[in-house]
Every structure is written in C-alpha cells, then in structure tokens.
C-alpha cells in the first residue's frame, strides 16, 4: 500500500521531478539505405519546437530531455521515431518512403498512386518550385507527356493554350477544366501565384476525369495550394527574384530604306512595262516621276530620287528604326514572396503573399500582381474536420495592342511601315515639324493639308510609337475566393463531406484613345471602359463509404453537385476630352452604354464504386448525370460513365524471381464524358438581339439560325497502359496508349453566304484523337556527393475527323473531310516562278470531260483557277515532349527543362505579307525580295516586283514552313548554404539561384516565335521573352 502511495505520489509529481531531470545531448549520423549520409535531414523532439538538421556529413547534435521521443525524417524517406537515451551515438538509417503509397490528388479527393487505374500525371512541389514563373501553367509545359502548351504572344500575364491528348473540340472549348482546391476555377489563371501551389495533377483519361464527367472531356488540371503540416514548428520563408528579359527568338529581317526605294521604283516600272505595255524607257521614266506621289513621302529631298534607269541618287534625311522605337531592349522582372506555415496537433495553416511585376517586350507593357492566400485545416473534434481556404489576388496588366490586325498593333506596325516613313512629323520640304511648344510630334500620317509628307498610304491616322505612348489599354483584375468544407464521420466507414465554394472575379478593361492624335482625334478622344463581375457558386455534398473485409477493399461515393456562374457585364464609352482627362466623368458626348447579365447553372448526381483485392487487382466504375441550362429542356440532361481496372503484376508470385522488375502495373479504362463549355449561354434559342437602334427607335435584328436540339458534346475515351519500376529502382516509367473519339461535336457549321447566315451551331461530326505517351525517369548516377536524375517524356498524337454531316467543308486554310485531321492544310500549291515573265504559278488539276481530275497537273497564273491540295502537312505536331534533368553536387543543384515539338507546319502570314513585292505602296518587304525575277531566263522562286493588285503572295504552299523546335524552357542553378554557417544567424535555410527561362530556342523556321496558334497561322504576335534572373530563398 505504501509503495502504491509512493508510486502515486511520484507519478502525480512527476512533472516536477522531470523538471529536475537532466537534459541530455544526443548525437549521431543519419544515413540512407546505402549508408550514405543525409545532409539536411531533420531531428525533432516530438511535442516541442526543438529541432535540428544534419550537417553535410549527416551528423546531428541535439539537446533534449531524457526520455523524449525523437523523430528523424528526410524528404522521400520513411520517418523513424526513437526514444532519446544518453547512449550515444544514435545512428539512424532511413529507408526510402514507399513511393507507391504516395498520395496523389485526384478527382474529389486523394488516392494512393498505386490504386489509380486511370492516367494521372503529377507535377510535384519540388518540380514546381524549381522553375518559378509568372503563370502556373508554365510548369506543365514539357514535364507531362500528352500535354501541348502553347504560349501565344509575349504579353506577361497571358495564359497559354493548353490541350491534353489532342484537340477534342472545335467550337466548344477544347481547353481542360481547371480545378483549384476542389472547385472549378473560372478566374484568370494569371491570378494564382506559383509560389503558393503545392502540386498540380493532370487527369487525362476517362476514369480519372469521370467525376468531372460533364466538363472533363478535354482533361482536367487539378491545382492544390499549399497547406501547413501537423506538428511542425512555424516556418517562415521569404523569396526574392530579379530578372531581365528580351526576345527569345529573333523577328524577321526587313529591307533598308535605300533598297526599299529602289525596289518600289522597280515595282512601278514593271507595272508600266509588263501590264501597261509601255516601252522600257517610258516605263522607267513613269516610275521615276510617280515614285514620290505613290509613296506620298519624300525623305530624299529631290523630286526624282530614283532616275529612269533605277539608280538611287540622294541620301535619306531620316531612316526610322521602328523596332528600336517600339520595343524594349531589356525588360525587367521582380518578384517577392512571404509565406508562413505550421501546425499543431489538430490544426494546420498556410499563409502566403506574393508580389510580382514583369515588363513586356513592347514599350509600356507590364503585368503586376499581388496575391494572398490563407489555408486553414482543423480537426474540430474527434468526428468533425473542417477547413477554409481564402484567397485574394489583384493584378494590373497594361498591354498595348500586340496581336491582330488593328492599326495600333505594334508588331504589325513594325512589319508594315518601312523606315522610309518618319517617326516625327515633317514639313513638306522634309524638315522636322515643331509644334507650338517647339517640340516635335509623332507623325500620324493623316495631315491632308500637305500633299508630300502628309498622308501615309498605309495605316494612316496612326503612329506605331504614338499609339503606345498616347493611348492606354489597362486591365485591372481582382479575384477573391472562399472555399470551405466540413467533414463528418458518421461511422468509421462512412463519411459525409460538404464543400461550398464561392468565387468572385472582376475585370476592369479600360481603354483611352488620345484626344488629339490618332483614331479618336476627330472626336477629341475616347474612353471606353468595361466593368465585368463574374460570380461562381459551387456546392458539393459527398457521402463516402470505405471498408476493408479481409483482402477485399471497397470504396463507394455518392456525390451531389450544384454549380452556378453569373456574368454581370457593364460597359460605357464617351468622347470629347480635355488634355490629361481620361475618366468618363470628363466626357462631353456619351457614345454608348451597355450591360447584360448572363447565367449558367448545372445540377449533377454522381456515383463511383471502386474495389480492390489484395492491393493487386483494382476495379472502378462511375456514373454521372448532369443537366445544363445551356440546352433546351428536352436535351439538357446527359449521362456519362466510365469503368476501368488495373493489375499489379509485380505482386504476383510468378514475377517474384524476376529480379529486374520491381513494380509492374497494367491498367485500362474506358468512359464517355461530356463538354458544354464556351458555346454561349443559350445557343439553342433563336432570339432577336437588341442594340440595333435607329435614331430614336429601339431596334433589334434576328440572331443567326440555331439548332433547337443542340445537346452535350460527348467524348469516348479509352486508355491502356503500363507503369513500371525496373532495375532496382534505376528506371521508372510509363507507356500509355489512348484513343479519344468526340462525337456530337458542337460546331459552327458553315452555311452558304446567300442564306444570310455564316454558320449554324449544331452537333455534327466526330473527331478522333489517338496517341502513345512515353515517360521515363532514371537516377543515372548517385555517388558520393553527386547525383544525376534524367527524365524524358514524349508523345505521338494523331488527329482525325471521323464523321461529318456533309462530305467536306472548307475552313480557312483547312478542309475538313472524313479521314483527314482538323489541322491539315488545304491550300494551293506553288509551282514556282515562270522564268519567262517572272509571274507566280500554281498547280491546277487537268480535268477529264466529266469534270474529274485525270491525275495530271498543269501550271496556271490565275490564282482563282489553281486547285487546292492536301499537302500532307498539318499544324499539329507529330511528336511533342520534354526532357528534364536534376543534378546535385554538394551544395549545388541544377535543374533543366527542355521541351520540343516536331512535325508541325506553320503558315507564316507575316512573312507572306513581307513578300508582297510592293503590290501596294507604303508597305515594307523582306530582304529575301532581293532574289526577285528581273529579266527573261532568271530562275528564282521570288516573283517580279509589281505595283498592282496581284495574287503573288496569296495563300499557297510558298509560305508553309516546317515548324520544329527545341526550347530550353528553364534552367535553374542554385546553391544552398551550409547548415552550420546559417545556424549562426538563426536561419533554417538559404538558397541562392540563377534561372534562365526560354534560354535557347532551336527552330526550323526563323523569324517568328515557334509557338503560334494551334491552327498554325501567325497573327502579328509579339514573341515570348527570354529571361535571366537571380533569386534568393530564405527560410526562418
């Protein structure tokens, strides 16, 4: 009894006794399974904030209370817990974490990598953080097979076009669905800071995307933001990056001013000589005397700068370098980030703030963003878990026109206006014009009080630099989201989770056109402003049952989802401004006011069942039914399903003896999914559109013809593949074959123009995409302080039209026909230049008496008579992929990401326009024009110059080029400072690095950025930027 009492007393007072207990010093070495020391491994005294890291040789020393529990951990390895004793050293050997137990974020939850029967690729946190970029999607390019990411244009903050496993839709959106933290994301991707992203999962096949079935036909990208970890001391990390950028690929060359002038003279002379049949002398004289009046400007100061023999006499008083004036030589980029994360036993939190500002290539272009996020998860009590993610981001993007055909597009300007035309306004004699303040002003080419140096023949009433400096196009965006969930455990096997997501994005699109110069000068300036609000509300209720009976494991989900997107649009426009007034209050004449509210809703019921036997045989089936407001009541419900299975061969006894196979899995899946995105809000309703007022009368017109039976676009996806780890973990990889057939495609079928409608949106046709994806990773070298990892992934994709409602139809530079791809060029074939007269020729089929081609061809100089052919060239690449490597040596680390594309063709319309041979005056040309035909017998592929409407540079194979490229997308070289050095300053981690983005590009066709639109046509876009930056990551 007494002993019991004493023990009780001791037990009750043990805390006090413990206080009196000794601290002990524990030391040792932590190494991996090979016995190699692990630097930077962590030793933590559980339940406290006391922790250390191992040094370069794996040594650690920690002072703890005797009897405390120490946890030894290292990324990628299984942690171990040991009781602290005074017995030293305590050496620990850590085993690699079973990668297959690694948990991957999938649709509506997580799954172990092993159990996935579908095709899911994951970009891990380390991969994401090793290539910091402005938009998160840059991390995907080249790291996952089967994904084609195309960055069109060089405006920072622009989102790329993403296609997963080919192009599955034509008019409906072919973009994948983006899910952020469990809910569909309708904001702009550039509002998410990459630094705050923990992982990105890409779901490519039917079974993985089936739970998003009604909108997952084109694949799903799941973005998961960072969260805290349980029982970790609070960590603060700071990051800073400074970078400098310029154009990643060179632009096309341009003719110099003297060449331009002489060549234009030749073009005019040729017209007089060959078209109007003047004698050579008369033609030359006519060209000389009409040169200035045709070009309308005279930099040479003499009446006939080119004499009747074509010789240039005179020096130009100006020679404008438009490119230098319009583009930044160097653009800067800077980024700062702060994040704080940590967790107690029950609650974890992550808070991140990030600021970035990046300039673009065209002067005054920039993107600036501030993004904050707070993620909190908590175990409220033993059967309720809850969490809340809140994010807010605001950004400004100033982007003068850099694509398309508006006069103010800076890139089009550089490629159109020769250096012959001045930047600043000139008097008729050529001297510089000075305004009332004694300063020069931009030449807008619209001064019709002067017959010389007054009105520019091309792009008049605009100035390439003036448009940038005097006008403004500013987009201000904000994005706020709240994502909360509560998870209730009803029974150990039965869970209920309710998830509510609210998102509000605003876009303010402000445009100011100058009051005195340019397109709005006649109305004293114009301000046009759009203010749009986008609100999304998503509620998901999930009931999940999961249980194991012996070797059988069963998982069932029943999900109910309601989704609502509301677009609230408002726009206003007014003219008549005083100088420096750019707000609508200052407008004298309101020009227009508009607004509309559009709404879309979806209701869905989803169920999924998955079963596995002994973690070796897996099967999954799911079914989904959705109703959308985009279709009529009769056609709005769609049923989607999928099923799949996998077999882990390596668990079978017959493979036990095969030493070189560590893990081998076979999998297959099939499903039918839907798509209804980007087709408008009520595409099936024939309505009368407002906004066609005639003076004081309200006016409407009838909308285009509609198909009232429009319904869901469906895609049948099939996936067969294998995943393996071979040679004792030295080689990991996967090979997958997929086949996607989109049926009932929603497409704007072209109608005969004489019906008064250009097209009708209907479900027609089918497209098939198929391909094989390969992905291999290997730790090539791991020795002493050096380790080298290599990875390569590539895919071959084929696209084919499998059904159409009419035999064929022409779509711009393509013709769609069963058996052909969506993007196969169908254009006239150039037959070169006739050496007799210098005219361009094309091929034309010889027809038999009943109008059928006989198989023979002749050449013709009538473009409209030339036959169009399939040239077996497509704008879709035959093979795309990427190559990545990670090298670490002592404290240094290097990672590189290269992506490549082979087999696609591009129609370079920019180059075609530069080869126009002076058809119209005032447009620049390419130096390749030097090779033009000049006299009888000349063999060349550049036709003669001709200042008259002609078809020489009309769409033909002459301008169709191979577009293969290899791009070193990212290169990151870093140095992590020594543990011991940092301890002095109480710093837990410090890494400095140098990063290059788009460092090198090897391309088969120079002059354009190899990434153009998927259709393979150019559009006067700015090029992407090559950036070199220095960065620092600090952990406290």
């Amino acid at each position: 009894m007494k002993y019991i009492l004493i023990s009780l007393f001791l037990a009750l007072f043990s805390p006090l006794i413990l206080l009196a207990q000794q601290n002990i010093i524990v030391t040792g070495v932590i190494s991996d399974e090979f016995g190699m020391p692990l630097p930077g491994a962590t030793v933590i005294e559980l339940g406290t904030v006391n922790g250390v890291s191992t040094d370069f040789d794996g040594n650690y020393t920690i002072e703890v209370l005797e009897g405390a529990t120490l946890e030894f951990s290292y990324v990628g390895y299984e942690p171990q817990n040991i009781l602290a004793t005074a017995e030293n050293p305590i050496n620990i050997s850590l085993m690699p974490a079973n990668e297959l137990e690694e948990v991957v974020v999938v649709a509506f939850g997580t799954q172990s990598k092993q159990s996935i029967v579908g095709s899911v690729a994951v970009i891990s946190e380390s991969d994401i953080q090793s290539q910091p970029a402005t938009t998160i999607t840059q991390a995907i390019q080249g790291s996952v097979p089967g994904i084609n990411v195309v960055n069109t244009g060089g405006v920072p903050g622009t989102n790329p076009t993403i296609r997963i496993r080919g192009i599955g839709s034509i008019n409906a959106s072919a973009a994948p669905l983006i899910i952020v933290d469990g809910a569909p994301f309708n904001g702009n991707l550039n509002s998410i800071a990459q630094e705050q992203v923990a992982s990105i999962s890409v779901l490519k096949d039917a079974s993985s995307t089936s739970l998003y079935g009604s909108r997952g036909a084109n694949g799903v990208i799941i973005v998961t933001t960072k969260s805290g970890t349980k029982e970790t001391p609070t960590r603060i990390s700071l990051s800073t990056v400074y970078g400098n950028s310029n154009m990643a690929t060179p632009m096309h060359d341009l003719l110099g001013i003297d060449d331009y002038t002489r060549f234009f003279w030749e073009a005019f002379r040729n017209k007089e000589l060959y078209e109007n049949n003047l004698s050579p002398e008369a033609a030359g004289a006519a060209a000389s005397s009409n040169l200035i009046s045709s070009l309308a400007y005279n930099p040479y100061g003499i009446e006939q700068p080119v004499d009747s023999q074509g010789n240039l006499n005179g020096t130009a008083a100006w020679d404008t370098d438009w490119k230098g004036a319009i583009l930044n030589k160097n653009a800067y980029k800077k980024q700062h980030g702060l994040s704080i994360s940590g967790g107690s036993e029950k609650t974890t939190f992550y808070m991140g703030t990030n600021y970035i500002k990046e300039q673009g290539q065209v002067k005054t272009t920039y993107f600036e963003r501030f993004a904050t996020r707070i993620n909190v998860d908590s175990e409220v009590n033993d059967f309720i878990k809850s969490g809340l993610n809140v994010s807010y981001s605001t950004s400004k993007q100033n982007s003068p026109n850099q694509s398309g055909t508006s006069f103010s597009n800076s890139i089009q300007w550089i490629y159109t206006i020769p250096s012959y035309y001045p930047l600043y306004q000139r008097e008729a004699e050529g001297t510089l014009f000075k305004n009332a303040g004694g300063l020069p002003q931009f030449d807008y080419g619209s001064n019709n009080s002067q017959i010389v140096n007054g009105v520019r023949p091309a792009l008049s009433n605009e100035n390439g630099l003036g448009a940038i400096m005097n006008n403004e196009i500013l987009k201000t965006r904000t994005y706020a989201s709240m994502n909360g969930y509560i998870k209730i455990e009803l029974l150990p096997e039965l869970n209920f989770k309710s998830n509510i997501f609210y998102e509000r994005a605003t876009l303010d699109d402000f445009r100011y056109t100058h009051y005195k110069f340019g397109a709005a000068s006649s109305v004293q300036g114009r301000v046009s402003q759009d203010r749009n609000f986008f609100t999304t509300l998503n509620a998901i209720q999930t009931l999940n049952y999961s249980n194991t009976f012996g070797l059988h494991t069963l998982n069932a989900d029943a999900i109910f989802e309601s989704y609502r997107l509301e677009q609230d649009l408002l726009d206003a426009q007014g003219t008549g401004y005083l100088p420096n007034v750019t707000v609508l209050n200052g407008s004298t004449v309101p020009e227009s006011v508009g607004g509309a509210i559009n709404e879309e809703r979806i209701l869905s019921a989803i169920s999924r069942l998955s079963y596995n036997y002994d973690n070796t045989y897996f099967a999954e089936v799911s079914f989904r039914r959705d109703g959308s407001t985009k279709f009529s009541k009769d056609t709005r419900w769609g049923n989607f399903y999928s099923f799949g299975g996998s077999w882990i061969l390596s668990n079978e006894s017959f493979l036990d003896d095969v030493a070189w196979v560590d893990y081998l899995k076979l999998k297959f899946s099939y499903g039918e999914l839907g798509n209804n995105r980007n087709i408008g809000f009520f595409p099936y309703l024939q309505v009368f559109e407002t906004g066609y007022n005639q003076l004081d009368n309200t006016g409407v017109i009838s909308s285009e013809f509609v198909d009232p039976n429009l319904t869901w676009e469906k895609t049948a996806l099939q996936n067969i593949g294998t995943e393996f780890t071979l040679f004792e973990g030295k080689l990991k990889g996967s090979i997958e074959y997929y086949s996607k057939e989109s049926i009932d495609l929603i497409y704007d079928k072209p109608l005969a123009l004489s019906t008064g409608n250009e097209s009708i949106k209907t479900n027609i046709g089918a497209i098939k995409n198929s391909g094989i994806e390969f992905s291999f990773n290997s730790t090539v070298l791991k020795k002493d302080d050096l380790s080298v990892d290599l990875g390569i992934n590539f895919s071959f994709d084929k696209n084919e039209i499998s059904d159409l409602t009419q035999e064929e139809f022409i779509n711009g530079t393509k013709k769609w026909k069963i058996g052909k791809s969506l993007y196969e060029f169908f254009i006239r074939e150039s037959a070169g230049v006739d050496s007799q007269d210098g005219y361009q020729m094309w091929y034309k089929d010889v027809l038999s008496d009943d109008g059928e081609p006989t198989g023979e061809r002749v050449t013709t100089k009538e473009f409209s008579e030339a036959t169009r052919y399939y040239l077996d060239k497509s704008s879709l690449p035959k093979m795309i992929g990427g190559f990545n490597t990670n090298v670490s040596y002592k404290n240094f680390d290097l990672s590189a990401l290269i992506n490549f594309s082979f087999g696609s063709y591009v129609y370079d319309g920019v180059y075609a326009n530069l080869m126009n041979g002076f058809e119209t005056p005032g447009r620049i040309g390419h130096p390749d024009l030097k090779n033009r035909w000049q006299k009888l017998g000349d063999q060349t592929n550049v036709p003669l110059f001709l200042n008259q409407q002609n078809d020489f540079n009309a769409t033909s194979s002459r301008f169709l080029f191979k577009n293969n490229y290899i791009r070193v997308r990212g290169l990151n070289l870093g140095y992590t400072f020594e543990e011991s050095w940092m301890e002095k300053y109480q710093i837990k981690g410090l890494r400095v690095y140098m990063q290059g983005d788009n460092l090198f590009t090897f391309q088969s066709h120079k002059g354009i950025d190899p990434e153009q639109a998927l259709s393979g046509t150019t559009n006067y876009r700015s090029h992407q930027m090559k950036t070199i930056s220095l960065g620092v990551n600090l952990q406290l």
């Binding site: 009433n461 000068s521 509210i597 009368n697 013809f705 008064g756 409209s864």
Partner: protein
C-alpha cells in the same frame, strides 16, 4: 449519441443545399427577346424594322465594306469623274477587284443576302402573326417587300450583265423565305421578275407616312421602281413611277453649300442617318473619303475634264484648287466641298432630282422631246440661274441628259457606272487621273460585274466551281 448529432448535421446540410424545383429553368437571356414579343405588337415589329434599317448602315466588315454606302462608293470610283488617291477603294478605282476571294466580291454578295434573310424572317413572322391588324400587316409587309426588292436589285447589278444583254444568264439565287441550305443560281430574267413582283406588292400596301426618312414609304417604293424600270428599259413605267416618287420633295439646291449631310433636306427621299452615338465613324462614304478638309481619309479628287463642264454660276460647282497647283495636271488638282464629313453626316440613297432626270430621260426616249427639253431647262435653271436652253434634240439631247445626271449626282450612287452598264457603254479615262487608261471599261465589259465568291461555292452544294469559269 455522437452519431445522432452527426446524422442531424448531415440532414441539415442536405436541406440547406437542396435544390429547388426549376433551378435549371430559371436562367433566361436578358439582352434579347423572342419572336412572341416582336410579332405580336406593332411596336415590336417596328423595332425589328428599325434594327434592319440600322444593319444596312452599320460596320459590316471593314472600312470599304461597311454597308450599302460602301457598295455605292465602290461604284462611284469606277467612273471617270472621280480621281482617287492611294486609299481605301483603290482596287475598285483600278477596276481590278472582282476575283472570288477578294473582299469586294464577298461583301457585295454577303451583305445584300444578309439583309434579304432578315427581311425574309420579317415577312414570315408578320404573315404568321395573330395579333397584328390587317392594316399594320400590310404596311410592314410593303416596307419589307420593297427593301427586299432593292437588295435583290443590288445583287442583279453586281453579279451579271445588264437586263438587255441576255436574260438566260445565271444570276444570284432567289430566296423567298429563310432557308438553311443554299440554293442554285437563278436566271437574270427570273431575278428581275421577282424584283418587280416584290415592288408591285409594296406599291399596293406601303403607306405614305413614316417615322422618319430612313424608313420606306410609298414614295421610296416608287423611286426604287423608277430605277429598276429605267435599267429594264421600260421608259413609260419608269417615267410614271418617277413622277409619283418625287411629288412631295421639291427641289432645293441649297444643300450643295451646306455639306450634303442632312437627311431632312427637302430633296432627300430616302437616306441613311448617322448620329454621334449611332455612327460608322470613318466608314461613312462618300463623306469620309471625299471631304479633303476635315479629319477623314479625304483622298478623293475630281477630274479637271469633269470640273470644266460646270459653269461658274452652277450651284453644284463645288470644286476648288486645294493645293494651289494652278493649271497643273496632278491628280490632286481639284477637290470638292460637296460632302462635309463628321461622325453624324447623313448619307443620301435616293433624291428627287434623280427622279426628275429619270422622267426627263424617259420622255426623251419615248419621243416626247419638247416636254423633256422643257423639264430639263427648268431643272438646269434651278441649279444655275444663268442656264439657257441648249436646243439639243435626238441623240444630243440624250447626251445632255446623261451629262446632267453626272453633274447632279456626282459622288452619290455611282451614276456613271450605273448609266454605262444599263446603256451598254464603256467608261474611258481622260484628264488628270492617277490610274488612267489601264482602268478603262469597254461596252459589255466583264469588269462591270463580279465573280461568285469562293466561300459561297465552298458551302453551297448547289453551286459549284464551274459558275466562275466564264466570268
């Protein structure tokens, strides 16, 4: 106990987020209306007609392909009187803009057919309406038939030879109601029959009152009929129609001094109004292109030969030497102040002087020469106080009338091209042109009409490549 609480929580959640019946039926389009609103009341129907009129003068495709006014100006520059600088319409000026894939070809086909489709839907909707009264129906139907005839007339002018050449030649297809599938080509004879039939329906039912001069009333119908009959060579019908059309629109030469931009001028029978908040900005033709002073393109000038035909006291002599070249022969030697450009310049379509001249010409051709000569003189005196009778008869009188048409209508609807085409004459370039004889047209020249657009051939199963093989 715990489980009971949990179950209650779950139930309350399901209740909270449960769906209401009709959740998917609620969203409706907010910025458009459906046909029941339009055709069940006169206001709704008038809104549709207003929208159609607005569509005829909006920015359809690009600067030189914006609307009806662009088609007219393209015809103006094909003649000899206007000299165009290096600007929009330059290929029309060179008479070299008719291939199947050129903008002019596609636009001249697509735009009239766009209007015809809207009008077909209009007619179909009215005929099926239960609420409109007979009078309202008739009034609207009249306007629609007249406009449809007008646009088919534009197609006939642009895509085939003139009426008297060969009526069996292929002509643009005729759609009497909305259709999704393209139709085959018609013949020129069928097309003109259809046009005249539509105009006859319109004459019966269109009232004389209208909301404003942009709408069609009975006078406009007669005016269109006069033009059509003139082309067909039916002089008596043309004269009758013209006489009725111009009755309510007395002559008033004043607008030649005030900028030719006001639809309320007494002579304007039909026009396209512009307003600062309903404007085509720089697309407005002819104003933006011929006004050399205000901030438009302003690179159209006038042939010195043409200018020399005006007497000094003719109110229509708006020509001046803008750059001070004196007697020089540069193409920009003579500018005109007839049209003043700003964003609210109204555009004329048909004016009463044209009707009067149709009457005069028709009478002359019918042999009523003295009547014609008298009317001609009174017209000339209205424009020029010092005008005296020329005493011309026979062919000389006809030539004088045709010249008077050029003097009156220069810049407006392409009078030279219109007359040369219907009378099967050529157009010869003289004087100080920038592009001279290279742009000449011979009588019955193919360049008077366009090829069929490639896009149409591509998408229309009933029209194939062969349609362009002899164009």
């Amino acid at each position: 106990m715990i489980k009971l609480r949990a179950t209650l929580l779950v139930i309350s959640f399901l209740f909270f987020t449960g769906c209401e019946k009709g959740y998917l039926d609620e969203p409706k389009p907010t910025e458009s209306v459906n046909s029941s609103v339009i055709f069940e009341s006169a206001d709704g129907t008038e809104a549709f007609m207003s929208g159609i009129l607005r569509a005829s003068r909006s920015q359809f495709d690009r600067t030189d392909a914006g609307g009806l006014y662009s088609m007219y100006f393209a015809r103006v520059v094909k003649g000899n009187d206007l000299v165009l600088g290096q600007q929009w319409y330059l290929f029309d000026y060179e008479n070299n803009n008719r291939e199947p894939n050129y903008t002019r070809t596609i636009f001249s086909w697509e735009f009239p057919y766009y209007m015809i489709n809207q009008l077909n839907q209009f007619i179909l909707g009215i005929n099926g309406s239960a609420n409109l009264s007979e009078i309202e129906k008739d009034s609207f139907l009249g306007q629609a038939h007249a406009m449809r005839a007008f646009y088919y007339f534009q197609l006939a002018l642009e895509f085939q030879h003139t009426y008297s050449y060969d009526l069996t030649l292929p002509a643009p297809p005729i759609y009497a109601e909305p259709a999704i599938e393209g139709k085959a080509m018609s013949t020129l004879g069928e097309l003109y029959d259809f046009i005249v039939a539509d105009l006859n329906i319109a004459i019966e039912t269109t009232p004389t009152n209208r909301t404003n001069k942009s709408f069609i009333n009975r006078d406009v119908v007669y005016a269109i009929m006069a033009r059509v009959q003139l082309v067909m060579g039916n002089w008596q019908e043309a004269s009758n129609a013209a006489a009725i059309a111009r009755q309510a629109y007395p002559l008033n030469a004043n607008q030649y001094r005030t900028g030719f931009d006001d639809i309320n001028a007494s002579e304007w029978i039909w026009g396209m109004p512009q307003r600062a908040d309903q404007t085509n900005y720089f697309f407005i033709a002819p104003h933006a292109f011929t006004d050399n002073i205000n901030d438009g393109y302003g690179l159209a000038f006038w042939n010195k030969d043409f200018v020399s035909l005006f007497s000094a006291t003719d109110v229509r002599n708006t020509f001046f030497d803008i750059y001070g070249v004196g007697n020089g022969n540069q193409y920009f030697a003579r500018a005109s102040s007839k049209f003043t450009f700003d964003f609210s310049s109204d555009i004329p379509i048909i004016r009463s002087p044209e009707m009067m001249l149709i009457e005069i010409e028709a009478n002359a051709r019918l042999g009523k020469e003295s009547e014609a000569a008298t009317m001609l003189l009174s017209f000339q005196k209205n424009r020029d106080a010092n005008a005296v009778s020329s005493g011309n008869t026979g062919d000389a009188l006809i030539e004088e009338i045709l010249l008077e048409r050029r003097k009156e209508l220069y810049g407006e609807m392409g009078v030279e091209w219109f007359d040369a085409k219907r009378l099967r004459r050529g157009i010869t370039r003289t004087g100080n042109h920038r592009i001279g004889s290279a742009a000449n047209l011979v009588p019955d020249d193919k360049k008077f009409f366009l090829k069929i657009p490639q896009k149409e051939i591509d998408a229309n199963p009933n029209i194939d490549e062969s349609v362009n093989s002899n164009r």
